[in-house]
Symmetry: C2
Subunit: 244 residues, 2 copies
Amino acid sequence: MIRLFVEAELKLGVEITPSAEQGHYLASVMRLGNGDEIALFNGRDGEWLAHLHLIGKKGCRLTCQTKLRDQPAASELVLIQALVKRKPLETLIEKAVELGVGTVSLALTRRTNADHTNVSRLQAIAIEASEQCERLDCPEIVAPEPLDRVLAKLPDATPVLFCDEQWQAPAIRAPLQSLEGIATGPAAILIGPEGGFTPEERDQLLARTQVTPLWLGPRILRADTAAIAALTLYQAARGDWRRS
Amino acid sequence: MIRLFVEAELKLGVEITPSAEQGHYLASVMRLGNGDEIALFNGRDGEWLAHLHLIGKKGCRLTCQTKLRDQPAASELVLIQALVKRKPLETLIEKAVELGVGTVSLALTRRTNADHTNVSRLQAIAIEASEQCERLDCPEIVAPEPLDRVLAKLPDATPVLFCDEQWQAPAIRAPLQSLEGIATGPAAILIGPEGGFTPEERDQLLARTQVTPLWLGPRILRADTAAIAALTLYQAARGDWRRS
């Protein structure tokens, strides 16, 4: 069944007018007709079965019929991602959504070599990934800010898993071992830019009490691979992949 | 330092003529000059420091000087990947190399909707990823064959971790729990096509004694995300990310 993310309130009998793009997608691309069913979610009211009604040649309206799923608690997992090139950034946003991230905060560090990105395009990628992966919410993509400011905005005592490619060998702990020491609940994963962190940035990060280094194996990972791997490990060891 | 994968034997004093493409890359793109250092590996003889010598305007020759690293044992981790579209296939090959896969065997299943792919292009992606991620070997990409034949070629008793999106809820075990039951050593991870496996394929797979289902969380993952996540979990729980 087609799933759409909408902003409007969802409840029994409510009528939703999809955006022009969504309407085009439903009526012209997917060629849905009167009475066809789709699923709607807005990040607040759970998932609803809706019926489509065509209006004229191009428009359509959706009527909420039945609640399919209740809204689960929102993910408290934050990905703090230093700006990287467009292609890996788009890949990792899509994958982070599938892996259940709650928020992606873009960060500027000393070695990021861009200071802006098209956040609305990234948000659109996140919405599409949410629709595809059957989430009932869509992570917010927060526009780039200096790393210090991003860290300062985290709720107090949020553990930060610092994925540091240059981590010195003697200090290495296996990643599942590092994760064992992290409380469940809110957490942030920090991934650096292509060029890594400067020694000063690393020292400053490691001096923070809430920061735990997370080693990601003996090979050098690209930024997008590192983000996907770290989110996977977090979910398996501390997140919603622990259900047994 | 620039790293290149070559076929030739590497030992003290041996002279290597890089391929035309590699020579162009070294001399024209990276503008290396006489005496500049690069690292060479071939999957057998470890990593060697080599000096470059320009020959004429376009050619160059490399002389092995010092062994930098010994050749580690080859990875016994196989990714059995059902053919998927070009873009996710290329993404997952690159990431699988970074994550330490030993072999990628492409498989044809009932719902794969292509029966061939450009294996030499995928192999080139694997070589480039090996050079980038500091591996000392390059995984082989094995051309597509029917899934049964791929499974039959695995060494006897190789555990197969079957990542099955349609796995029924009551049977779900957390992925780290499933991995605990797997012996270290050779292992294969099986990822299906975009449309998943047919019920018959699933039944046949689950009837094999060496097959263990691996659940990848409550959301629907794309094939490339599933492959990256499963390889990450394997390495963290059973592979070379366990060093402490």
